[in-house]
Symmetry: C2
Subunit: 64 residues, 2 copies
DNA sequence: TTATAATGTAAAGTAAACTTTACATGTCAA
DNA sequence: TTGACATGTAAAGTTTACTTTACATTATAA
């Protein structure tokens, strides 16, 4: 699973800490997702979509 | 987080076991998600969307 | 130069997703 | 009535998501 979180976050001029606050997780969680350590949970996915104002397909690239 | 998995699954005439096989999880996992015990992981969400041929918003209703 | 912000990472712990095995129940066809 | 199928649930275990605390690095502003 790849994602465009970092790119979209920067386009909105948000720090990892800013995005973490807006999505109710820790900065390390955002960092770990951006750097591919794990995938977000479904509730966090919904918060990320809303905050970054994109669709699921725009945010994630699913690879078997 | 509510979901319409059961309704959509039945509309496609699939058993929980069928859907489990198509999405590479156990029958109990499908059952637990349908009965609201937990939410699917992101990779499983993608498989469910593809198998049930719906969008994220059609399959899940996010509630804070 | 010093301080501050942003990022990456690590370790140890908790919580949630998912597994296998197992059992109980209802429905329906033979 | 018997047997097969579909569903719900439970227990115990593993894996993944997420937490807090902490430290290191880089860039930039005062």
């Amino acid at each position: 699973m790849k994602n465009n979180i970092q790119q979209l976050r920067k386009a909105m001029h948000l720090s990892q800490e800013d995005l973490a606050a807006k999505t109710d997780v820790s900065r390390q969680t955002i960092n770990s997702i951006e750097t591919g350590k794990f995938d977000p949970s479904l509730p966090l996915v919904f918060k990320l979509l809303k905050t970054l104002d994109v669709s699921l397909e725009e945010l994630f690239i699913f690879e078997e």
